[in-house]
Amino acid sequence: MFPANFGYVAPRSLQEALELLDKHGEDAKLLAGGHSLIPAMKLRLARPGCLIDLGRLPGLGGARIEGDSLAIGALTVHADVASSELVRRRLPGLAEAASLIGDVQVRNRGTIGGSVAHADPAADFPVILTALNASFVLVSPSGSRAVSAEDFFVDFYTTALAANEVLTEIRVPLPSPGAGTSYAKLPHPASGYVVVSAGALVIRQPSGLCASVRVAIGGLGSVPFRARATEAALQGQQLAPEIIAAAAAKAAEGADPDDDVYAGADYKRHMATVYARKAIEAAASNKR
């Protein structure tokens, strides 16, 4: 099974990539690890005339501290996000999400930037990155801008990326001391994609009360769903199991999932409450 014919170019600098993107416009697609794009091209779901391979751009891999954020290069493969000491220590929920994507070989090749830009509604990174209030650095010939995860994911496979922009970096605010992060996932047993998943960021006061919490749920719609009713129910409360369970029971409030061949809408709503509870409990106990 081959993709349809296309032209190919592998720029050696971001500047070259931007010029090529400008020249080819809508006919071009950016290629990172190719683990979403190449399957889509084989199925003719995507049929670009030209692939601009970002794989040889320097400086877009790895994670580093940048001010009060963790900056992750867009070309960092999932396996490296999962095994990064920095990510595991400061944002264990993000490392956990990365370790649950696909399988070993997919994690050795797929990139965080590619996953985010593809915006599959059943992907893992969009969910945890929404919970962690990440932003994405988008570079165009006229400069760069940072877009928050919630503004970035617009619809199924649709993002705020403009046709002349390249996603270069993912920035995740480093949680304050006493904060915990976690990700819990119900994978489809065959594909490994998300049926329902939950990402949580819990910030505790020294007293043990919940200072603030962000919970994002995957699988309930076209983009990650912020469980605001759950968040409101936890704010200022003691992070005790029964209080977390009662708050998590509201995780699908306001969501409108579709039935699909694998899971019905009611089941997804119920699983959202289960996985929200798992994620919040883990984040609340994994103080960092």
């Binding site: 190919y8 190719g34 692939l51 696909g102 070993v104 070989q105």
Partner: protein
């Protein structure tokens, strides 16, 4: 920066199992077909062709990947190891031996991919637990469902390599 137009080919150079190889490929040529059809290395199998089954697993710059989901042009300049590159001077790799010793194959279709995934595991984790072996093989499917003996084969290889 060389640009290849639609319907044109492009020269790529890769090191496969220690030997430098060069070939003209279309940009849409998948790495697995490049290995099989251009280089005649048919040990790497095409199973599902949809990045699920792992029959096409190879090592690309030392990491296990599914070669059905990589373009040959993306591998330009890379070092590749396929199942044909594991034996040393006629002696099978311990993982290959393990599959023989423990009957880790039935039809054999998934075997090269299983072996490459196991080799990749043992490189970074020479003494894996059974759980770690199972997790390391999550990207490889055996339609004969011969998983139990495959896991035994990897355990055998780990024990043999330690000597």
């Amino acid at each position: 920066m060389e640009q290849t137009m639609k319907d044109e080919t492009r020269t790529i150079a890769v090191t496969v199992n220690g030997t430098k190889r060069q070939a003209e490929v279309e940009p849409r040529e998948l790495l697995v077909y490049f290995l099989r059809d251009h280089l005649g290395l048919t040990g790497t199998h095409v199973g599902c062709d949809t990045s699920q089954c792992g029959a096409c697993t190879i090592l690309l710059d030392g990491r296990s990947v599914k070669s059905c989901t990589i373009l040959a042009v993306q591998a330009d300049g890379a070092e590749i190891t396929t199942v044909e590159g594991l034996a040393r001077e006629g002696a099978l790799h311990p993982v290959q031996e393990g599959f023989g010793e423990k009957h880790g194959l039935q039809c054999g279709y998934c075997t090269p991919g299983m072996i490459m995934s196991a080799v990749y595991l043992l490189k970074s984790n020479p003494r894996p637990s059974e759980e770690e072996i199972r997790r390391a093989l999550e990207g490889n499917l055996c339609r004969c469902t011969g998983y139990v003996n495959i896991i035994e084969a990897v355990k055998w290889a780990a024990a043999a390599s330690k000597k």
